[in-house]
């Protein structure tokens, strides 16, 4: 898994012609090797710190704790519960954000009505909503999913709206002079032209969904990665906290990769500098 986003890999499906060869020119193996070296170094430093007596568990302790938690099914269950919350909130959030963002960008009236609320809620960190959500919705799944929804929604709605507003006027005119009417312009010009913005919004939204999840689980949950770490904190169980942190990091990274692949496939037509 290449953590560095190498521009050499930015070749969409249709790039068979002309300049694609020059872009492919750079060796692909190098960034991967650098990533591997960097990760190995990081673990080495961690090991050294632990050996020097800094209060962190040895990497081996963390691995064996992860093994134990996997063996009794706790880690799998926590991951599934946390993933379920993130995905539910994220899917609901983007599903609401994309149409609302489009409407805001396309109709001045909708924009005027919706924008103050979005700007207002944007200034409140989703975490600050948690106490209110818990009081109103209890300690079930609802408040957690709601704050994750809010985080994903706010990130995605703004960039969708930005995408629609910044569609090149000349492209809309080009479609109009070819006889295309409003509905066609929307579906065939505005939607594809704002796809890059939407995908960036989704990636940002996913990031804030993760961040919010852990905090939500720290406050009120009986299972999930955040809860597991909170619980471990009570017993001074550092290896478990590390297992939780690393799991969250890896899961977040994997989900981001999935969106990145989608982004490359859908927006490979963009001219990149």
């Amino acid at each position: 898994m290449a953590v560095i986003t190498e521009p050499a890999a930015h070749t969409g499906r249709d790039n068979r012609l002309a300049s694609s060869q020059t872009r492919r020119g750079r060796p692909r193996g190098l960034p991967l090797a650098l990533n591997a070296v960097s990760i190995a170094l990081g673990i080495g430093v961690w090991w050294a710190l632990a050996a020097l007596g800094v209060k962190v568990p040895q990497p081996t302790e963390v691995v064996s704790r992860a093994w134990d938690l996997l063996a009794d099914g706790t880690l799998e269950n926590d991951i599934l519960v946390s993933l379920g919350r993130v995905l539910a909130g994220f899917v609901l959030g983007t599903a609401a954000a994309i149409p609302i963002g489009f409407l805001m960008g396309w109709y001045g009236v909708v924009r005027g009505l919706v924008e103050p609320w979005i700007q207002f809620f944007r200034t409140i960190p989703p975490l600050a909503i948690i106490p209110l959500a818990i009081v109103l919705m209890g300690i079930d799944e609802a408040p957690k999913i709601f704050v994750i929804f809010l985080a994903a929604f706010l990130a995605c709605v703004i960039s969708t709206f930005q995408g629609v507003v910044s569609v090149d006027r000349t492209l809309i005119n080009a479609a109009r002079v070819l006889g295309t009417r409003d509905a066609g312009i929307f579906a065939r010009v505005v939607v594809p032209a704002s796809t890059p913005f939407i995908l960036v919004g989704m990636r940002v939204g996913l990031g804030s969904a993760w961040a919010t999840l852990v905090a939500a689980e720290l406050i009120a949950a009986q299972q999930g990665l955040g809860y597991r770490m909170q619980n471990a904190q009570l017993y001074y169980d550092l290896p478990t906290i590390f297992v939780g942190l690393i799991s969250i990091g890896i899961l977040g990274l994997l989900m981001d990769r999935v969106l990145l692949v989608a982004e490359r496939r859908l927006t490979g037509w963009q001219e990149r500098r």
Binding site: G12, D14, N15, R16, L17, A18, S19, S20, D168, T170, L171, N173, A174, A175, R176, V177, L178, G179, T180, G184, R188, V189, P192, A193, T195, T267, G268, W269, Q270, E271
Partner: protein, 278 residues
């Protein structure tokens, strides 16, 4: 010298601009982009419009395209006043305006899809016009892989594909280098001779204006108005020989004077081409 409407209001005119005035407000000031402009263009005529920046030539084109509305007066195409854009008036923009997410082929097919032309027929028509502009090897390429000249050829094919009777071209070669420009001018005339259309071509390049046109319309700025109309009564096809001929040079000098010496301060001798920068 000033003759506002060279071929006044015959009903047969393909395009008839009648006393069009366009004003914009910039803050508290009102800016007159076009002042009482009248112009008739005959069927299959190739008219170039040249003038200093701010003379309203692009505004005139946008009004004919239906992208802007005149403040006063009206634009008539085929006997009907223009109200909004339509596929019978193809527009070619200086910035190419290709849809970057579509291949050359899909770009050319765009207007045909709008017109609900069946798939097979769409393919065939697109194929024909892609070949006409010489892009057959790049039919499946995305715009980002094309050079500026190739992009503009694709835009020309896209405009032709919906079979417009009028082509409105807004400085289409303005962003290209001189060599490519000359090549595309010749290709455009070649295409035009095969597929005759009424063309209004905006440019700021005097050579280009004379090389392409049946008639050169010179505009003046502040307020934007027609300053002079110069007939180019020289036969097509035109090639390099034409470009280097004394007739071309004479016309070019005339247009040059008309564009660059609009205050009536005519110099004693025509400016030498080597000293001029447009």
């Amino acid at each position: 010298m000033t003759s506002n409407s060279p071929r006044p209001g015959t009903q047969a005119a393909k395009i008839s601009v009648q006393a069009v005035t366009k004003t914009f407000s910039l803050g508290r000031q009102t800016f007159t982009a076009l002042d009482q402009v009248s112009l008739d263009i005959a069927d299959n005529e190739f008219v170039t419009v040249v003038g200093p920046s701010g003379c309203g030539k692009s505004t005139l084109l946008n009004i004919l395209a239906g992208l802007e509305e005149p403040t006063e007066g009206r634009a008539i195409v085929d006997g009907t006043p223009v109200s909004g854009p339509g596929p019978e008036r193809g527009v070619i923009f200086q910035q190419y305006a290709l849809f970057p997410w579509l291949t050359v082929r899909k770009n050319v097919e765009f207007g045909l899809r709008t017109a609900r032309v069946p798939r097979a027929q769409r393919r065939e028509r697109a194929e024909y016009f892609i070949r006409m502009v010489g892009l057959e090897d790049f039919a499946d390429a995305l715009p980002k892989m094309l050079s500026g000249g190739m992009r503009q050829r694709c835009a020309i094919a896209r405009a032709y594909a919906v079979n417009p009777s009028i082509l409105l071209m807004d400085e289409p070669f303005g962003a290209l280098d001189a060599l490519t420009r000359v090549k595309l001018q010749e290709q455009l005339l070649d295409t035009w001779s095969k597929e005759q259309r009424t063309v209004m071509f905006i440019t700021h390049d005097v050579d280009e204006a004379v090389f392409l046109a049946n008639r050169v319309v010179v505009m003046a700025a502040r307020p934007g108005r027609i300053y002079d109309v110069i007939d180019v009564d020289l036969p097509y096809p035109r090639s390099e020989e034409f470009r280097l001929s004394p007739e071309f040079a004479a016309l070019r000098n005339r247009v040059w004077h008309s564009v660059y010496h609009q205050d009536g301060t005519t110099p004693s001798s025509p400016p030498s081409p080597s000293l001029t920068t447009a």
